[in-house]
C-alpha cells in the first residue's frame, strides 16, 4: 500500500502536537460544509460541533496508537467521516423520518479505504472501552495504574501489594477483558472486516 503522506498530513500532525494554529485551519476550511450538512439533516450547530470534535479526537487516537498516515486529501476524508458519524447518531436517536440529503462529493477508492480504516479503529476502540467498563472496580483501577505508570514495581508499591501479586493480577484482569471482548457480538462483526 502507498504509505507516502499527503501534504494534508500536517493536520494529523497538528492533532498530535495540539497545534491550535494549524487546527484552526481545519475549522476555517472544512467545518462550514459539515455544519451545513448536519443542519440540513435534522441537526443544529451544537451537534455539528460534537461531530467534528469526536471525529478529530478519533483521528488523534488512531495517529497516536497506529501511526496513522494520511495518504489522501484531508477534505473528503474528514467530511465523509463526519457525515457517517452524524448518520449513525441519527440512527441512535431513532430518528426514522429523516430525509437524507445526499451531495455530490465523489470519493476515490483510496479515500474510502482510509475512512474505513479510521472507522474500524474507532469501533475497536469503543468495544475495548465498553468492555473495560464491565470489569470490576479493582481490575479497572489496577489496569489504569499499570498503563499510566510503566514500572510494575511502582504499581505494586502504590497499590500496597507485592510485585509478583501485581503482575499476576494484571494478567488476570487482562485475561478477563480478553474473554469479554472475544465473547462479544461486536468483536465478531469487526473480525468480518
Amino acid at each position: 500500500m502507498n504509505q507516502k503522506p499527503h501534504a494534508d498530513h500536517i493536520y494529523i500532525e497538528a492533532l498530535l502536537k495540539n497545534n491550535s494554529r494549524v487546527l484552526s485551519k481545519i475549522y476555517e476550511k472544512f467545518s462550514h460544509k459539515i455544519v451545513s450538512y448536519v443542519r440540513n439533516n435534522n441537526g443544529n450547530s451544537d451537534d455539528a460541533q460534537d461531530i467534528i470534535q469526536e471525529t478529530l479526537v478519533t483521528i488523534y487516537h488512531q495517529a497516536k496508537e497506529k501511526n496513522f498516515i494520511l495518504t489522501c486529501p484531508f477534505d473528503a476524508y474528514f467530511y465523509l467521516l463526519c457525515k457517517r458519524r452524524w448518520l449513525n447518531e441519527l440512527k441512535k436517536r431513532g430518528n426514522s423520518r429523516v430525509t437524507i440529503l445526499d451531495d455530490d462529493t465523489s470519493i476515490t477508492e483510496e479515500q474510502e479505504q482510509q475512512v474505513e480504516e479510521t472507522e474500524i479503529f474507532e469501533k475497536q476502540h469503543q468495544l475495548f472501552e465498553s468492555k473495560f467498563k464491565e470489569l470490576g472496580a479493582k481490575c479497572q483501577e489496577l489496569l489504569k495504574t499499570t498503563f499510566k505508570i510503566k514500572s510494575m514495581e511502582k504499581v505494586a508499591e502504590i497499590l500496597g501489594v507485592t510485585y509478583g501479586y501485581a503482575r499476576k493480577k494484571k494478567s488476570q484482569c487482562m485475561g478477563k477483558l480478553t474473554q469479554l471482548v472475544k465473547d462479544s457480538n461486536e468483536f465478531h462483526q469487526l473480525k468480518a472486516y
Binding site: A7, D8, I10, L15, N18, S20, R21, V22, L23, S24, K25, I26, Y27, E28, K29, S31, V35, R39, N44, S45, D46, A48, Q49, I52, Q53, L56, V57, Y60, H61, K64, E65, Q124, H125, F128, E129, F132, L143, K144, F147, K148, R167, K168, K170, S171, Q172, M174, G175, L177, T178, V181, K182, F187
Partner: protein
C-alpha cells in the same frame, strides 16, 4: 489453564521468556488457533489501553483546543434560524435563478473591481548570502526561484532549511513558493510564524500573509492584515495601494 496463558502472554509481551519458552510459545501460536486469537486480542488490548491511558492528559488538552476553536468558528443557531425560514418560503427554482444572477454580478464586479494577486506578487529576487557549505543547493534554489520555477525552488529550499533550520529568509521564501503553488496552509503557517517573531522579516511576512489572503479571496482578512503593517515598513506603500483597491 487459561490463566497460565495470560501470564504467558504478559511475559511474552514483556520479552521475559527464555529461549526455550519462546520457541514453545511460538509453536503453540502456530498450532492452536484459539490460543492465537486470544493472544491477538490480548495484545491489541494492551496497545489500545496503554495508548489511551498514557495520552489521557494530552487528549484533554486537545479537546480544550478543539472546543475553543469550535465555538470560535461555528456560529450559534440563532443567527441562522431566520435565514433558514426565509429560504424555505422561496421556491427553489427562483432561488437558483437568483443565485446564478448574483454569481454573474459577483463575477462582473470581481473582474472589474477586486484587485488580483498577480498584480501585487512581484517577489524580490532570491539572493542568499552564502551560509554553510551547501553551495549547489543555494545556486539551484536561487536560479529556480528567480526563474519562477517554484516547485524546484521549494525542493531546494527545503534541502537548505534542513541544514539552516533557523534561517528565517529561507523559511520566508519557502512560504512564497507554497503561496505560488497554492498550498495555502503551509504558506500561512510559515508567514504566521515569521510575522509573530522578531526577525528582520516580520513586515515582509505580514505582507505575504495579506497576499495569501488576497489570493484566497478572503478580502476582509486581507484588509485587516494590511492595516497592521506600520508606516516604517518597506511594504507600507504597497500595502496602502492594495488597501485602497479593496
Amino acid at each position: 489453564m487459561k490463566e497460565d496463558s495470560y501470564i504467558l502472554f504478559d511475559n511474552y509481551l514483556n520479552k521475559e521468556l527464555s529461549a526455550s519458552e519462546l520457541i514453545s510459545f511460538e509453536e503453540k501460536l502456530n498450532a492452536d488457533a484459539d490460543f492465537k486469537q486470544e493472544f491477538e486480542i490480548y495484545k491489541a488490548l494492551e496497545t489500545s489501553l496503554a495508548s489511551r491511558f498514557k495520552n489521557e492528559e494530552a487528549e484533554k488538552e486537545l479537546r480544550n483546543t478543539i472546543s475553543k476553536l469550535g465555538s470560535k468558528y461555528i456560529k450559534p443557531e440563532d443567527s441562522v434560524k431566520k435565514k433558514g425560514k426565509i429560504i424555505s418560503l422561496f421556491n427553489y427554482k427562483q432561488l437558483m435563478v437568483a443565485a446564478s444572477i448574483a454569481m454573474l454580478i459577483g463575477f462582473f464586479l470581481f473582474n472589474n473591481g477586486e484587485p488580483v494577486y498577480s498584480d501585487f506578487s512581484n517577489h524580490n529576487a532570491l539572493e542568499l548570502v552564502v551560509r554553510g557549505n551547501n553551495n549547489e543547493a543555494i545556486v539551484k534554489a536561487q536560479d529556480a526561484f528567480n526563474s519562477k520555477n517554484y516547485k524546484e525552488a521549494l525542493q531546494q529550499l527545503t534541502v537548505l532549511s534542513e541544514t539552516n533550520s533557523d534561517d528565517t529568509e529561507i523559511e520566508l521564501y519557502k512560504g512564497i513558493c507554497y503561496l505560488e503553488l497554492n498550498v495555502y496552509v503551509e504558506a500561512d503557517v510559515i508567514f504566521d510564524a515569521i510575522s509573530s517573531g522578531n526577525s528582520a522579516f516580520v513586515n515582509t511576512a505580514t505582507w505575504y500573509k495579506a497576499l495569501s489572503m488576497l489570493k484566497q479571496e478572503q478580502f476582509e482578512a486581507c484588509k485587516y492584515i494590511l492595516k497592521t503593517i506600520p508606516e516604517s515598513a518597506a511594504e507600507y506603500k504597497q500595502a496602502q495601494k492594495l488597501l485602497k483597491k479593496l
